[in-house]
């Protein structure tokens, strides 16, 4: 075997670049990778949310590395410095300059790290626009969207599973909520929970948010606004340790509670609960 010789600077080289645009919540993000098999993995992972025709709002270069030994559940850190966001967890490092519209992600070839990076980036984008990602199931019925939130085990997957055929499922895990005029729109996401089913890539005006509780009967109760805000804040996905942004999210939650009906839904795990919805 011959010795390794560096490629002379004068030698022409081609670095392949593959790209895919993932559009979640109507927000196209272009991802560049030098690995076509990873692009194909992304195409499968985000099937239904890939739109090559959409002009991207932001672009990321993905640099693939060997898998990290650090646990992916290591606490995520999201910090801003001189207008550039720095995102890191055991399994990825990323930086993103919203002003320039570009960022870079270092991760191994797996779908979980990019999923996390995209979720964080979307929370930061939405925080500036009065929207947020909510830990909730979501569905459209009769042209209006309904969200179902609560702690793990409250019934998000169950109520999604019980949905009748005329219901379009947006997600069973993470809802995408954007400001729209005087109200909000709920959009489908590819972020699936126990149902392991990617949501539909569509949206509808948001009619109501229910906080779930399983009980002996199907019933809807009013919820006081302070309680609604407390619960909402507990379920909004947010990672940044930036006081100004946290304040924005709090104000967004307050705005939301002022404009959207937030109620408690007690339900028994059978399909009759859907008689109360829509």
């Amino acid at each position: 075997m011959g010795d390794f010789k560096p490629v002379p600077r004068s030698c022409p080289q081609v670095s392949p670049s593959y790209q895919i645009t993932v559009e979640i919540g109507g927000m196209p993000i272009l991802l560049h990778t030098q690995d076509d098999s990873f692009r194909q993995l992304l195409a499968r992972r985000y099937a239904g949310f890939v739109d090559s025709a959409a002009p991207p709002r932001f672009e990321f270069d993905i640099e693939l590395t060997t898998p990290s030994r650090k646990a992916p559940d290591e606490e995520v850190r999201v910090e801003v410095q001189d207008g550039t966001w720095r995102l890191r967890r055991g399994d990825f490092r990323a930086h993103w300059d919203p002003g320039a519209g570009r960022g870079r992600i270092r991760q191994s070839a797996n779908p979980y790290s990019i999923d996390s990076v995209l979720r964080i980036v979307h929370t930061l984008i939405l925080a500036e626009e009065g929207g947020f990602l909510l830990h909730s199931a979501g569905a459209i019925r009769n042209g209006r969207a309904f969200l179902f939130s609560g702690v793990s085990g409250a019934g998000k997957t169950t109520i999604s599973r019980l949905a009748p055929p005329d219901v379009t499922l947006l997600t069973d895990e993470v809802s995408y909520i954007r400001r729209a005029g005087d109200g909000y729109r709920a959009c489908g996401t590819p972020f699936a929970g126990e149902l392991a089913r990617v949501g539909e890539n569509c949206s509808a005006p948001l009619a109501s948010l229910f906080f779930l509780r399983q009980g002996p009967e199907n019933r809807i109760d009013a919820m006081a606004k302070p309680e609604a805000i407390r619960r909402l804040m507990r379920n909004i996905l947010f990672f940044a340790e930036d006081i100004e942004l946290v304040q924005n999210v709090f104000q967004s939650a307050c705005e939301f509670v002022e404009r959207v009906a937030v109620r408690r839904l007690t339900f028994t795990p059978d399909s009759r609960v859907w008689n109360l919805i829509g």
Partner: protein, 108 residues
């Protein structure tokens, strides 16, 4: 010690977000996401916490004037309340007026 030396001034922390909802003030600590809901009396005190108005004046001009309470009881209760919020880091207390500062995010 004269009353002047006992005077206190209160100012909202800059690391909080607050919002008035149906007459009650919701406050969230941006540092640890702890929530506080203030009743109407506490809301009046919170709104008056401008860092320049003496606490005794807030008690007399706002609390005693707007709620059915005697000055001595009001002063004692307000000081307890102020102490409670300051221990959570959402209210700052000083024995002299605060310099002008940027108010935290607040909306009615």
């Amino acid at each position: 010690m004269s009353d002047k030396h006992m005077e206190k001034y209160i100012a909202k922390s800059s690391a909080i977000a607050s919002r008035l909802l149906g007459g009650e003030m919701m406050i969230m600590s941006a540092a640890d996401s702890t929530f506080f809901t203030l009743n109407p009396v506490a809301t009046v005190i919170w709104q008056a916490a401008d860092g320049r108005t003496p606490l005794s004046e807030i008690v007399a001009a706002r609390v005693c004037a707007e709620f059915d309470v005697d000055p001595e009881t009001a002063q004692r209760d307000v000081e307890l309340f102020v102490d409670q919020l300051s221990r959570h880091g959402i209210l700052q207390v000083s024995d002299s007026p605060f310099p002008d500062s940027v108010s935290p995010t607040e909306a009615a």
